[in-house]
Symmetry: C2
Subunit: 322 residues, 2 copies
């Protein structure tokens, strides 16, 4: 059977990413265990090995990097994408395997830069690269890395309750200006957050706040944001040129921020305590951007001032397969 179809309605593009993931879960049947070992968080939590985390991420030429990227930065990005998932669980990374699909025309010097960049990043984060796979392809260079990690208290995505503060590390938007290559995965920050009992849930922002914030919301909950507080990156401020709508658009939808978005449960005093402790440990910015409130069935992101939806449910972040 041929894997392609000319009929768009019979193709995976007809479903989009979320729909496709739902189908895959259904097709896998009992082979996929329930959450939190199965699908649904930044990493799988391996039940047979308490505290063990498992995550996988890919990197494709012309999709995640292009000719403007130094090969060292592309190689490091392959690992950093995975490190960010471990960071979002409050874990520390341990070992990884890397697979590469390479055309025979791959330039050795380019590949050397890529692998050296990957190796340096691995050494920096005490990740041991223990194996991999090479496959010859007629297509573009494509890579996959699977990373194991450990967490004493893995930070899940689930658990939100009305009143929880929504906080974010760093700055958002404009990642294409360079941040998507130069970002530092928030590993220290993630482990620190996992040690704070008030921190309930965490996710890393890869597809944009608009798509990743709803992942923290359960049915009947909404997120109420103080848009004036949103930490826009300098790159976004330059792009938006004082147009607040353009600024919000980029902050919500650019993706590849690789910042941590987390929920903190506690009164204003406790929140001030968290912020003050944070500042003693990190130079990374920490911003409380809103709170969880009781909402309707659809997860919604509301403006604290106008009480109206900031985004319709279809206006989400970066959507794949469309």
């Amino acid at each position: 059977m041929n894997p392609f179809t000319d009929n768009p309605s019979a193709s995976i593009a007809a479903l989009g990413e979320a729909g496709l993931l739902e189908r895959i879960r259904e097709w896998l049947g009992p082979a996929m265990p329930p959450y939190p070992e199965g699908m649904g968080d930044d990493c799988a939590i391996l039940t047979a090995h308490p505290g063990n985390l498992l995550t996988t991420d890919s990197l494709l030429y012309r999709c995640h990097f292009d000719d403007t990227a130094p090969p060292e930065a592309a190689g490091a990005k392959l690992l950093k994408r995975n490190l960010s998932d471990i960071a979002a669980m409050g874990g520390r990374p341990t070992v990884a395997v890397m697979s590469a699909f390479l055309p025979p025309t791959t330039c050795l010097r380019w590949l050397e830069g890529f692998v050296r960049g990957l190796g340096c990043c691995a050494s920096e984060h005490s990740v041991r690269l223990v194996g991999g796979d090479l496959t010859q392809t007629a297509g573009d260079p494509a890579f996959n890395l699977t990373l194991l990690g450990q967490a004493d208290r893995p930070l899940p995505r689930k658990g939100a309750q009305p009143g929880d503060h929504i906080c974010v590390t760093g700055e958002l938007g404009g990642s294409l200006s360079g941040h998507h290559l130069t970002f530092q995965p928030r590993l220290e920050e993630g482990r620190w957050l996992a040690r704070q009992t008030g921190v309930i849930a965490c996710i890393d922002i890869t597809d944009g706040l608009a798509k990743d914030l709803p992942a923290l919301l359960a049915e009947g909950l909404a997120a109420q944001l103080d848009t004036a507080c949103l930490p826009a990156s300098e790159a976004v401020k330059a792009i938006a040129q004082d147009d607040p709508n353009r600024l919000l658009h980029h902050v919500f939808r650019d993706g590849e921020d690789y910042e941590l978005l987390f929920l903190f449960r506690g009164d204003e005093n406790a929140k001030a305590g968290l912020e003050s402790q944070w500042r003693k440990c990190f130079s990374t910015r920490l911003t409380a951007i809103g709170e969880i409130i009781t909402g309707s069935n659809e997860p919604a992101i509301l403006d604290k001032v106008t009480r109206r939806a900031l985004l319709s449910p279809t206006e989400t972040g970066y959507l794949h397969f469309r």
Copy 2:
């Protein structure tokens, strides 16, 4: 920097697979730990988690399967390739993550078959699929699976000594006639072998006996084979049509046998005991095909009768990136 080169001598094709792997090891530097956690066996043996195995393998349309393959068989093959690596270490598989590079024109019905085939195979072998990654590509569908496993006594590739018997499960050659899709990874057999103290080393034959047997040889050792004993598959016998050279060619070089090749240390009595115990447990064929002898520096495969090299060092099995 552009990843491609027009100059063949500056491309990875100039190195071939073995050369490229050597370079990657060098470029990774201290990020790759030494064997047996790092490169060099069917699975990585994770030192931080005693007995834990980690392996990864890929599956690419037009390379590992084509339109003649039912999608269910292609999906199962992705997992079975990895299961065969766990089998070669004498382990049992536990959890896996799957990554897919998919073009938007991927036919949903095809993908359903692929994922259902993967899921059924996973359930059959008690493998839990705990996560994965989807990436949109302009190229052909490509998949990667990373599999964890456990072994009480992992069977390495290394450890050969003169006098060790060379044994192989099943039959060799002609896999393109269908075996490359329908094969059963030798998991039960591998675990049984790991429990036999006389079994020293093991590998699964994926690139052909000519390429995979030398992986069991250390410097100064050679393999001496009784060519009359080599268990040629029915498919090879049909192709060879009584030409012994053609038969040997296919047995040595076809690849994708996914049979276990192992070394047994013991006298003729012990070997007969192993064979008799094996027959009580398995219907799978077991054949002693030769033994390890003292050799020259180059790992060599010799004919027991003529004492001459059956293969020159360059005549190996399936070579990638050429």
